[in-house]
């Protein structure tokens, strides 16, 4: 009997779970062969890079047996730009690209994600955070407004979010990024390039060539171009189609250094930051008003959609009636170099508002291919009190 007990103890002492660490040498996963379009049987794409809610439903595919319901019947083809090389479409990325000359210079990827993939604004915020930019509501709005369109080989249209255009004070070594969001039926394709401001700018043309070469394969009949949906965004770019890389590049580069202005008395100017060419506050109380000057490419959505959006931000109705009232109350102010600027004063239509309610006064100045937004926000009382200084700022603007 004793030896039976001994056998038991011996056996069970060998069954203890060991927490000892394990050491081994692993072959680093290598790049697979270039894509060979075939009929997909089980999708394994999806990427936590793009979504805010990293739910399993949007991230399946890592393990056999897990499926991502997105883009099940869609495969994609593309042309790798000259001087670039395609690397492992590993895990949830469809493909990764690097420069052949310097693997670390840029990192470009194509990622497919379910539906609207967390929403546009949430993704923009996160990307801005990744490259060290603060994401104020104004910056986001500006970035959304500045987004241009790009058409891929398959005919679908996507939006370009070029962060290099808002890093006005960025050093060449600062992190930067360009993202193209392509809505593909019930999925969103994210094409991204990241690197330093300098390398991203340098490889912009090739990146856009890559985007334009993307072509859905497989069950392409189910692929349709949908408008981007996300948060409360409204597409302000009806009719703004910049298909060629050249024209898009022209529209995205804001040559803002040739604009000057005079800081009103009692105000102080802060350094340009991200998208803002300048920010102004009261010298006596910086928290009372916030006046920003932002340059955006092209028509930046046009006057009426912007007025509607601003009205919404103030909690006002964005109905055509409100917009008509605002436009009727607009003042024409001449800049220092003689340009007419329409100033939209929201205090004029906030007849029933209290003095502590939020308000705004804004102007849109067109210079070359740019729209310069000069927007002052604060309480109704503060806006009314500082309106005169604001108008002086507008009148002092000159385009050299």
């Amino acid at each position: 009997m004793k030896w039976i007990i001994c056998v038991f103890l011996l056996v069970f002492s060998g069954c203890q779970q060991s927490s000892k660490e394990n050491h081994y040498t692993e072959v680093v996963p290598q790049a697979p062969a270039p894509t060979v379009p075939a009929t997909p049987k089980m999708d394994s794409s999806a990427d936590p890079h793009a979504g805010m809610d990293m739910d399993m439903s949007a991230m399946g595919g890592m393990m056999p047996g897990l499926e991502n319901s997105v883009a099940k019947n869609i495969s994609y083809g593309w042309t790798v730009p000259e001087g670039w090389k395609e690397e492992a479409g590993q895990g949830m990325r469809l493909a990764t690209f690097h420069l052949t000359s310097d693997e670390k210079a840029i990192d470009s990827s194509i990622v497919s994600l379910a539906g609207v993939a967390g929403g546009l604004e949430a993704n923009l915020k996160r990307w801005m955070g990744q490259i060290g930019l603060e994401s104020s509501a104004t910056d986001l709005t500006g970035l959304i407004n500045a987004a241009s369109s790009i058409k891929i080989k398959g005919g679908q249209e996507g939006k370009v979010f070029d962060f290099t255009t808002i890093q006005l004070q960025g050093k060449p070594t600062d992190k930067s990024m360009i993202v193209v969001m392509l809505p593909m039926n019930n999925a969103t394709l994210f094409v991204k390039v990241t690197g330093t401001l300098e390398t991203v700018k340098k490889n912009k043309d090739d990146f856009f060539k890559l985007v334009q070469s993307i072509e859905p394969k497989g069950d392409a009949s189910s692929v349709t171009a949908n408008p981007l949906v996300g948060g409360d965004m409204k597409d302000p770019h009806a009719g703004m189609n910049m298909n060629s890389v050249g024209s898009m590049m022209e529209k995205l580069g804001p040559p803002v250094s040739n604009i000057s202005w005079a800081v009103p008395e009692g105000w102080k100017e802060e350094a340009a930051k991200h998208m803002r060419m300048a920010t102004f506050h009261l010298a006596s109380d910086p928290t009372l008003i916030d006046c920003g000057m932002i340059a955006l490419a092209g028509a930046a959505g046009g006057v009426e959609p912007n007025l509607a959006r601003w009205a919404g931000q103030l909690g006002l109705s964005d109905s055509p009636d409100t917009i008509a009232k605002l436009m009727a109350a607009a003042m024409a102010v001449k800049t220092k170099d003689g340009k007419d600027v329409q100033v939209y004063d929201f205090t004029a239509i906030q007849t029933n508002a209290q003095s502590t309610d939020k308000s705004m006064i804004a102007a849109i100045l067109s210079v070359d291919n740019l729209s310069i937004f000069i927007k002052m926000t604060g309480t109704l009382d503060a806006i009314k009190k500082n309106k005169e200084s604001y108008l002086k700022l507008i009148s002092s603007i000159a385009h050299k």
Partner: protein, 367 residues
Amino acid sequence: MMKFLSSTRITVVCLFLLFILTFWGTIAQVQQGLYSAQERFFNSFYFLAAGFIPFPGAQLVLWVLFINLLCMFILSYKKFFQWSNLGNLIIHLGILLYFVAAFMVFHVSSESYIRFTEGQTTNVSNSYTDWEVAFWVDTNGKKREITAVDTKVFKPEYIIPTDTKDFSLTVKQYYSNSDAFSDGSGKKNPRILNEEGITLLTPKPILKEREQNVAGGVFNIKFDGKSYTLILYGIEVNPTEVMIAGKKYNFILRHKHFPLPFTLKLDHFKTEFYPGMDMAKSYESLVTISTGTLERQVRIYMNNPLRYNDYTVYQASYDADSTGRQYTTLAVVRNSARIMPYVSCLVVFFGLALHFLMQAFISRIKP
């Protein structure tokens, strides 16, 4: 005591319990899933039926049966050790050997898989259900030295054992199945380390199909006299990079990897479909196996696995990603005791044959 343990009644009760467990466990797989049912009915010593009635699991029953047979054998060995009973003796030895084989297979064998595409090479296989926290120093080489810790022992405040003195890693929370979220602010919190911007993990109920769970862990990592929160989520593609003591450490939570004594490269994967159908008729993987001393190409297809020492590599399945790139999945079974069940069967067969032959011989020579 030994007499009690060698009782035939115990044998009958054990066999009856095994019958119930086999029947019940098979039926329960429909509701509970294969893995959960196996764990509950066959891999456990006991479980609660209807939530409160203790019922013996197959492990306990088999151990009792093993001891019962062993005691029976010891008590009646004198009877067995007669030439006329030699066959019987061999049969019982064979059955005991079968128990030992089952024990060995249960504790020694492991199942895992390799999923790769043409041109890729690997020397590790992945667990279907188990997870590990792995870290390595980035050297930009073709190989990397991995240190990995099984997550089975993780609980809050568990200090993960590491050889390095560059940092210390403590488990704050570990979830076998979880959801990952970003706070949505877009601002990077310098105290939270995660490659994908994850700032929050929430537990989820454990799914009955264990391979569908996604583990997540919140860890406290200390280095350079400072403390940070490291969040790792099971399906992150990229590891979280942390610069520690001038070295680029990579941390990842992933399905447990098993190092293989060989390297496999997928040279070609072929699928054939039934005419006009989306159903695969056959699929096969052409791989190159390298062991350091030999290198050869092997075709792996249905009923034609690759065998190397204790390893058997089967063609299991295939899939394709959104780009249409095909991946093959090979099941890797390591079974150091794979010969033992065959040997025990042969011993039983030999015992039976001997017993019947001897009985026939004895009945002939008796008047």
